[in-house]
């Protein structure tokens, strides 16, 4: 199957205020998908389709119907005709819905959860446009919802519905729930994980290794509110942990530098967790359109062709 790219429409540049003004996930997803302007991509796997891929020598045990008899007539040797596998890519959109994801540092800015929903919703649309199987999972302190990947045309609406579900967990147990999700998901899925990753990278490592062992691919989208990265609070106050409810009287000016250093270290640790396993790690600020995420997805998808 040839890579096809739909005619590029003139799409105005996307800004986050416009995205936030769109009220529903489908609208946001479509706006995002239109902004990235992607076409269909093929699977990188070779399988039993009609489109020729390559020849190889016959091996005992190969199905005789896959022998190219015409080539045998010319060469007097048995060759197996390989074709591109036309099976769709299974994309599993994993959304962290813990309480920390509900954070938006200022009005007019999407919360991390809505930002992640819009991003994953747009990926679901892109997957659908490429007729790939798409599923979704909501993770909190457990797997709150799970929708297995499917290439069914109706799956897109189901995925959006799952992503837009009002379920919200309180605490993050990403390492544990991700491990269980790897068990439940079919093999060789593309896990697109949107989370703020408030998890110890060391605790995440077993789950990530398992995903690699299960031949899954992973695109980790680290959703970050600008305030989490910049920590530009000026006035002292009583800081409340969104997940645990823990309170901490704090002069932000005093802790700013140390916080920034710790956050940067955490991001580096996450990157060091995912990249050595062949996965992608992408930090996304909620004050910028997630086009990088969509582009990364498309690049990832292209790499599988």
């Amino acid at each position: 199957m040839a890579v096809t790219t739909p005619p590029r429409r003139d799409v105005p540049p996307l800004d986050m205020a416009e995205l936030a003004a769109l009220e529903s996930l489908p609208l946001r997803a479509r706006r995002l998908a239109d902004a990235v302007g992607a076409g269909r991509h093929r699977s990188r796997r070779k399988g039993a389709s009609l489109e020729f891929a390559d020849y190889r020598d016959y091996q005992p045990g190969d199905e005789l119907r896959r022998v190219d008899w015409r080539l045998y007539a010319r060469t007097d040797r048995l060759h197996i005709r390989e074709t591109h596998e036309d099976t769709p890519l299974r994309v599993l959109l994993v959304l962290d819905v813990s309480a920390s994801m509900h954070y938006a540092s200022r009005p007019g800015l999407l919360s991390k959860l809505d930002f992640a929903r819009a991003s994953l919703g747009a990926l679901a649309l892109l997957a659908r446009r490429q007729r790939e199987a798409c599923g979704a999972a909501l993770l909190g302190d457990d797997i709150l919802r799970y929708l297995a990947p499917s290439a069914s045309p109706a799956r897109l609406r189901a995925v959006w519905g799952t992503l837009d579900a009002p379920d919200a967990g309180q605490r993050t147990a990403l390492a544990e729930t991700l491990g269980r999700l790897a068990e439940a998901a079919p093999r060789a899925c593309l896990f697109v994980i949107a989370s703020d990753f408030y998890e110890d990278p060391a605790a995440l490592e077993p789950a990530v290794r398992r995903l690699r062992f299960e031949r899954h691919d992973v695109l980790a989208l680290h959703v970050i509110d600008p305030a989490e990265e910049d920590f530009d609070y000026a006035d002292p106050g009583l800081f409340v942990d969104a997940e645990s409810g823990e309170r901490l009287a704090l002069d932000p000016a005093a802790a700013a530098q140390a916080y920034r250093d710790a956050f940067r270290t955490h991001r580096t640790a996450l990157e060091d967790l995912f990249r050595p396993n062949g996965f992608d790690y992408l930090p996304l600020r909620t004050d910028a359109p997630p086009l990088d995420a969509l582009g990364a997805y498309l690049a990832r998808r292209a790499g599988q062709v």
Binding site: S100, M101, Y103, K112, D196, Y198, D225, A227, E228, Y233, D235, P236, G237, L238, F239, V240, D241, A242, E243, S244, E246, R247, L248, A249, L250, D251, A253, A254, A255, A256, Q257, A258, Y259, D261, A262, F263, H266
Partner: protein
């Protein structure tokens, strides 16, 4: 540590501002929901303690800088050792000549020194004398040694003065200085004339106490000689004088000597009744020729200062009046007639025509009305005459030579427009010696001066005696060379007015000439009074021939002098010699004390002093502060504190 401007210390309250801001900042506890505190909690303990330390350092530096600025503006200084600035005393001394009586002066000094004997190191002391006007011998300072020295070297003067101005000055100065105790120590004899005119109902400045010396015992024998007058008599000269007795009846001996000699011309006993004023006529036998001075002395009583008086005789032969020729109008020469008629007036004048070709004698007074006197050689002789010290009365008639001569001296006279009533001389300068002498009998002599034509002198070029209009001077006086010009903007003939035939004409001409001679109406020289300025007939050498100032060296004088002591003084102008008797104030001789009671005690204010209102900067404190300049150091440290505070504060605000 003392402060020059302690009011600035209230700025220390500004330290509360950073403190309040610091506390308010610490107490802000607005709930802030944050996704996770895991990175905050981990870094908090170490950074918080370091940050807390930085904040406290910033707070301390800000408070320190504010405090140092407040201290710097308050201008600190270290008071000299032992100085507490608590007591400030001004000794006010009545140094009028009545204090020369007996041991009054020494008694007054002893009493004052006893009063200030309790001063401690650091207290301030000043000395103020009342005569001739309130004068600081030493302004209040901690240098009490100098103040005591000034006190001991002070001597009673020959002046008379009132006490009140000095007391009020001392009180005002004391009240303006910060001190725990402010005191005036007044030493005097409480003479009635000293307290005369004092407003006892108006107290001195609040917060100032006054110690008054006790009223001294009355004098046993006190009589004073009034200034004698001389007149020519058949025997020579006759002196008229009076002796005023202020005490009980007693006999005194009067000796009259010619100054420069020791042998008495006259010596007689004078029996003075109880508080009697005796008038005496003393014949000074023998021919008196030329200038002579006489000393009249009583034998000493309790107040010897006023027991001596002087008189001077300059003779009557020296007053030459030069009169120029009358203009050829065919009319009577009223001016010559007037001068000839002054022979009955004193002093007599010798009238002679202006020398046509020789130099004019500079000891004469010229009366000039002819335009020819201002032209050609005559003008040159006139200029030389004035330059040599001669004086002239100039009647302005509008002639061209006279106009040019006047214009060349910046005295251009302009014709004054007359109305149907003519021109009127008015606005007389009543305190001018000539006008005063002229109108002494009646001021009616100054009215009715009407002229048909007149010339106005520039008001800014002459000293006006009378005006036509505010801008045009009718009679004015100005210096010319070493002599003087009396300029009359009218002519002394009947073309211009009826003035020459009026009763004011002859007296005015006579007074004007006598005034220019600088002499009195008789052959005796005009007397002067101690402390009072009087005009001199010219510039020259001035010295005392007799009296307390006889030992003083001659001094050069011009215009006028203010003698400080009685005596017979000599003014030498070129070859000319003038004698001037200088007398004491007659009031001061009266030793009567104020009666009844001691109302001066009412001068002490009973009102509490308001420290804040009287706060000013003491001179000594300024000196101490300027020696130390501590505020520069404080400003420097404050700047250093702010320089350190800035980077630390920046680190706490990240």
């Amino acid at each position: 540590m003392s402060w020059l401007f302690p009011g600035f210390l209230t700025a220390l309250l500004a330290i509360g501002l950073p403190l309040v801001l610091h506390l308010l900042r610490k107490r802000a506890r607005q709930p802030v929901v944050f996704p996770s505190l895991r990175f905050l909690a981990a870094s908090l303990p170490q950074n918080a303690s370091r940050h807390r330390l930085r904040r406290r350092i910033v707070l301390a530096l800000r408070c320190l800088a504010l405090a140092l600025l407040a201290f710097a503006f308050a201008r600190p200084f270290v008071a000299r050792a032992g100085r507490r600035g608590g007591r400030m005393v001004v000794v006010v001394l009545d140094n009028t000549f009545s204090l020369q009586a007996g041991t009054r002066w020494q008694d007054t000094l002893d009493w004052a020194k006893e009063r200030i004997g309790t001063l401690e190191s650091g207290d301030r002391l000043g000395v103020l004398v009342v005569a001739p006007r309130p004068t600081w011998l030493l302004t209040p300072s901690a240098d009490t040694v100098s103040a005591l020295r000034a006190l001991e070297t002070a001597r009673p003067s020959w002046h008379s003065a009132r006490v009140e101005p000095a007391l009020r000055l001392a009180a005002e100065v004391l009240s303006a200085m910060p001190a725990g105790e402010r005191e005036i120590v007044f030493g005097g004899d409480h003479q009635r004339v000293g307290w005369f005119g004092t407003d006892f109902a108006r107290p001195l400045a609040a917060g100032v106490s006054v110690s008054f010396a006790d009223v001294p015992a009355p004098l046993a024998r006190q009589a004073a000689l009034a200034p004698p007058s001389l007149e020519r008599s058949d025997a020579g000269l006759r002196a008229r004088l009076s002796v005023r007795n202020f005490t009980g009846a007693h006999r005194r001996r009067l000796r009259v000597t010619r100054v420069g000699t020791t042998a008495p011309i006259v010596e007689l006993d004078v029996d003075l009744g109880d508080r009697e004023t005796r008038s005496l006529e003393v014949e000074l036998a023998g021919a008196i020729s030329g200038t002579a001075g006489f000393r009249f002395a009583l034998d000493a009583d309790d107040l010897p200062a006023d027991d001596v008086a002087y008189a001077a005789w300059r003779g009557a032969g020296g007053r030459r009046v030069l009169l120029d020729a009358a203009p050829d109008h065919g009319a009577a020469d009223f001016l010559r007639t007037a001068l000839q008629s002054t022979t009955d007036l004193k002093p007599a004048l010798q009238v002679s025509p202006v020398p046509p070709s020789a130099a004019w004698p500079p000891d004469a007074v010229a009366l000039l009305r002819n335009d020819a006197s201002f032209a050609g050689d005559a003008a040159q002789r006139l200029d030389a005459f004035l330059l040599a010290g001669g004086s002239a009365v100039v009647f302005i008639g509008g002639g061209p030579a006279q106009s040019r001569w006047l214009a060349g001296r910046g005295l251009a006279a302009r014709a004054v427009a007359a109305d149907e009533h003519g021109l009127r001389v008015h606005n007389w300068t009543l305190d001018h010696p000539l006008v005063t002498a002229f109108s002494q009998s009646t001021v009616r002599l100054l009215v009715g001066w009407r002229f048909r034509e007149g010339w106005g002198l520039p008001a800014d070029a002459v000293n006006p005696l009378a005006l036509w209009t505010p801008e045009a001077v009718a009679i004015g006086e100005t210096d010319a060379g070493h002599g003087r010009l009396l300029l009359c903007g009218f002519s002394p003939d009947r073309r211009a007015s009826e003035w020459p035939v009026q009763g004011t004409f002859v007296p005015f001409i006579h007074r004007a000439v006598v005034y220019l001679f600088g002499a009195s109406e008789s052959g005796e020289t005009a007397a002067a009074r101690v402390g009072t300025a009087f005009s001199l007939p010219g510039a020259g050498s001035w010295r005392a021939l007799d009296g307390p100032a006889a030992a003083a060296p001659p001094v050069s004088v011009a215009g006028s002098v203010v003698p400080d002591a009685p005596g017979l003084y000599e003014l030498t102008v070129g070859a000319e010699r003038h004698l001037f008797p200088v007398h004491l104030s007659a009031d001061e001789s009266d030793p009567a004390q104020w009666e009844p009671g001691t109302p001066w005690t009412d001068l002490v204010s009973t009102r509490a002093v308001a420290q804040g209102k009287t706060r000013t900067v003491p001179l000594g404190a300024v000196e101490s502060e300027q020696q130390g300049r501590l505020w520069w150091w404080l400003l420097g440290i404050a700047a250093l504190a702010l320089a350190v505070e800035l980077p630390v504060a920046n680190r706490t605000s990240r």
